[in-house]
Symmetry: C2
Subunit: 85 residues, 2 copies
């Protein structure tokens, strides 16, 4: 079966996030003073052929560990696993 | 109240996605032949002071339109609105 897996990759807490900081600064410049903090990360959608939902989740997890995230500075999260028709 | 809003920004359908393509190629090289397609986008977490959940969602939407996404080539989605204590 074909599945679509959403993976979110974010900077680890305490790791500097210059892009998030730049967006926060820009938000303040534009007058959005209510914004307190911005974190910037990556979002991936992986589509693949897997035997089951569990296999799809495991497959995406391996991919996240090897390709999508740098575990030294980032955390990843499998956000959704969706079966496609 | 303080809220954390998650925003996902992805390339529009039909817009070239060289990063997704590069990750797909790398996945195949590494032996993950089951992977059919990869899309690469951005994930943002915005924390801010808002009067209500609706105000938080509207605020993040404005920010997405002005700062986080390029509406010509990207779509954005408010993925979650969470009240922080």
């Amino acid at each position: 079966m074909k599945y679509r897996i959403s993976v979110r990759v974010m900077p680890k807490a305490g790791i500097s996030d210059p892009e998030g900081k730049a967006i926060h600064d820009a938000a303040l410049q534009l007058g959005y003073g209510e914004v307190v903090q911005v974190h910037a990360g990556r979002s991936f959608e992986v589509e693949g052929e897997y035997d089951s939902r569990d296999a799809a989740e495991n497959g995406a997890q391996k991919l996240a560990e090897r390709l999508l995230a740098n575990p030294v500075i980032q955390t990843y999260e499998i956000v959704a696993v969706e079966e496609l028709r």
